[in-house]
């Protein structure tokens, strides 16, 4: 039987045996532990000078809000950012991994990273894990070939679009984009449209909430607007203050300042030029 020589992962690669075991346990009645998911509304759009990415900041663990102000816009390269929806650990891990691979690639080639490189790396990684890495991403950036915006699904398929939304709030955000998007938006119009789309997700989707994060990428320049809008401030703060219950005794208050410890290794190898 002729085999095609493809650079597939070595035979000892990811073993799906544990997935089968998990399925068997669930069938026998064991409840799967819940994991931290970013319910999420993430969006991206291309405007006249580049790309604008937007995200909400709520991370949920089942019905509970685990983090009211998490960061969903991840750094991939100085000119490429990626919003992540799905399991928070998966989006963090996969974006960090591709980010470090791209740094090495930049040292190797001596050039600025291209968005399609990040896209291919993410796509092939997610496909190899057959959708078990639950990361749905909106990848955007500006490189030498121009502005690019892509969506990547957990199974590894991608779409290239002028405006895109992902996550549980994607329908609410897409409704805003479909009615108000046009080509050649200015920076302020684009930021306002993205903020409106995320707000639509925040207020109409239960899995999204809290604040709006925005990242504007243009040729040679990036602006990360963390908490650009905070439409859900904490309105009631008790005047009585929040005190510990009477049973809690403070035994000792001691502050230990941290001192930096530097070790000098004698006779170590000199750094090569």
């Amino acid at each position: 039987m002729s085999k095609v020589a493809i650079d597939m992962p070595p035979k000892g690669g990811f073993s799906f045996d544990l997935c089968k075991r998990n399925d068997m346990l669930v069938k026998n009645g064991l409840k799967m532990p819940s994991f931290l998911k970013t319910g999420t509304t993430i969006v991206g759009l291309i405007f006249q000078d580049g790309v604008i990415l937007g995200a909400d900041t709520r991370a949920t663990e089942g019905p509970i809000v685990a983090d009211k102000n998490c960061e969903k816009i991840h750094y991939i390269a100085p000119n490429i950012y990626c919003c992540g929806a799905g399991t928070a650990a998966d989006t963090e891990a996969v974006t960090d991994m591709i980010s470090s691979q791209l740094t090495l690639h930049r040292y190797h080639t001596g050039r600025e990273s291209r968005v399609v490189t990040a896209l291919s790396l993410l796509k092939s990684h997610l496909f190899n894990y057959q959708g078990h890495v639950s990361a749905a991403l909106v990848l955007g950036g500006v490189d030498i070939t121009g502005p690019h915006l892509h969506t990547i699904y957990p199974h590894g398929s991608t779409d290239t679009l002028p405006y895109a939304t992902m996550g549980s709030g994607s329908l609410a955000a897409m409704a805003i984009f479909e009615s108000k998007y046009r080509e050649g938006l200015t920076r302020d119009e684009g930021v306002e449209l993205v903020a409106e789309a995320i707000r639509s997700g925040i207020f109409n989707d239960l899995g999204s909430g809290s604040n709006v994060d925005i990242c504007v990428l243009t040729k040679g320049h990036k602006e990360y607007l963390r908490n650009h809008e905070t439409p859900n401030p904490r309105t009631y703060v008790s005047e009585k203050g929040y005190s510990f219950s009477k049973k809690t005794e403070i035994l000792l208050t001691k502050i230990t300042p941290l001192v930096e410890k530097i070790e000098i290794i004698e006779g170590g190898d000199a750094m090569e030029e």
């Binding site: 039987m1 002729s2 085999k3 095609v4 493809i6 291919s120 796509k123 092939s124 496909f127 057959q130 959708g131 969506t151 699904y153 957990p154 199974h155 590894g156 398929s157 991608t158 779409d159 679009l161 994607s170 329908l171 009615s179 108000k180």
Partner: protein
């Protein structure tokens, strides 16, 4: 749920091939991309995906890579048969893991226009015309009576556009615009038919402008009691 494709067809005429596809990718009941391009180019031989989008995108990436190497080694453009064979090897040897059927269509100087269908298990079938996708179920009868050999390029293009518009009319998973690609000795020509230029069928209404375009662009005033 993850993206799956709608509908496409592929037609051999006298002197080349015409490929046509809709543009809808859906995840469950939501349209993930209403203007996708399902016809992927691998040199001058084109393939397009049906069923699971991720699997077909990966297969087309691998095949494009191998075909490029093959073209360099051969010193001339690859034949459609070779492209179809490469797709077949991937589809057959990985049949446990892949869930996609593909159609490879193109033109080369030895055999002219050729179409090869590679369904789920990994067989290769050389066909005068091929259809695939969820909307193709509605087109088997149509092609059985409408297909005839030796059509001209214009007749073939009109036929495929008619076929895709019929499928769009009846299949929920197909929609959007119709993209066609014509491949012959002169090269590759892409055409685009937006929604209002499709032929109309039974009970279909004429398209007209959305009211959104007529309203002013300022947001509505908030209600004040």
């Amino acid at each position: 749920m993850d993206p799956s494709a709608g509908d496409m067809n592929n037609y051999n005429y006298n002197g080349g091939v015409v490929l046509a596809a809709d543009s809808r990718t859906s995840t469950g009941m939501y349209v993930a991309n209403r203007a996708s391009d399902k016809i992927t180019q691998l040199t001058d031989n084109i393939l397009f995906p049906h069923l699971q989008a991720a699997d077909s995108q990966l297969i087309s990436d691998y095949v494009r890579y191998f075909l490029h190497q093959h073209t360099i080694q051969l010193g001339q453009p690859a034949t459609v048969k070779v492209a179809a064979n490469l797709v077949r090897l991937l589809a057959y040897n990985n049949k446990n893991m892949l869930q996609t059927g593909l159609i490879v269509g193109g033109w080369d100087k030895y055999e002219g226009g050729k179409i090869y269908g590679i369904p789920l298990g990994g067989t290769v079938l050389e066909q005068p015309f091929a259809i695939g996708g969820s909307g193709s179920s509605y087109l088997y009868g149509f092609f059985d009576q409408a297909w005839k050999g030796g059509m001209s390029q214009e007749e073939a293009e009109k036929l495929v556009v008619k076929a895709v518009s019929l499928a769009i009319a009846r299949d929920g998973a197909s929609g959007g615009v119709i993209r066609t690609v014509t491949i012959n000795s002169e090269g590759v020509t892409r055409k685009f038919y937006p929604g209002d230029e499709h032929p109309l069928w039974h009970e279909e209404l004429e398209a007209h402008d959305s009211l959104l375009d007529k309203l002013s662009t300022t947001s509505p005033e908030p209600m004040v009691s």
